[in-house]
Amino acid sequence: MTLHTINKTPTESSALNNCLASLSDGDALLLIENGVYAAMPGYAELFTRLPASIQCYLLGEDSSARGLNDLNPDFRSIDYDGFVELSCRYNKVVSWF
């Protein structure tokens, strides 16, 4: 099982798009840097077809930095320690940028 990090907005690059097309059951998504904008409610439909087995996270430092308060409830906010813990829990980390 893989942890996928995405650090770009849904429009500035195809990173999120490519990532969503490459998931296996049981993988996890972690939005970091500009990637956190994808957790705005306005982008919720991007994630409606995700299998329930995919856990979704975002880096709280990055969403606070960007003034994002009202977030898609499917995403759990974690800090850098949480990022490290996820990196251990999953077998590998794939970065989409």
């Binding site: 990090t5 650090n7 970091i32 840097e33 500009n34 430092e61 850098y80 320690d81 990022f83 490290v84 813990e85 990196s87 251990c88 590998k92 980390v93 970065s95 940028f97």
Partner: protein, 130 residues
């Protein structure tokens, strides 16, 4: 667990360098082992001794250097990527007859083999991309 980190973004130009630095600090706090931090592509600018950020901003090259000294980390800059982008150690400056060099210590210039070796011996390789 044994980690290696790849950084491909320059400080200030992209957030990748700052994110990688924070991630590495968490790794050390949680007592994981960092086998190597490898700087590739525009990431080579993380090693610039001449970068002078405004006083109220993080000095990323010097933060890397301090972290490496404190924890005896192996911080390696891809030599081919660095030389073409103007990041030279004393050796390379001599080889190319340049009058100065700008690699911060304890960064070292080395080949891509150091990236591959890191991938072989590490449990996780985490890339912070620009």
């Amino acid at each position: 667990m044994i980690f290696s980190i790849v950084v491909t973004g320059a400080p200030y130009s992209s957030q990748a360098a700052d994110s990688a630095l924070r991630y590495c600090k968490s790794l050390l706090k949680l007592e994981h082992q960092i086998h190597r931090i490898f700087f590739y592509a525009d990431g080579v600018h993380n090693a610039s001794e001449l970068a002078v950020p405004p006083q109220d901003e993080t000095n990323i090259p010097s933060e890397w250097a301090q972290l490496a000294e404190q924890h005896k980390l192996d911080i390696v800059v891809c030599i081919a990527a660095a030389v073409r982008r103007g990041v030279l150690d004393e050796n390379e400056a001599g080889r190319y007859e340049k009058s100065s060099h700008n690699l911060t210590l304890p960064f070292v210039l080395s080949g891509l083999g150091q990236l591959v070796e890191a991938g072989i011996v590490s449990d996780r390789v985490v890339t912070f991309g620009a």
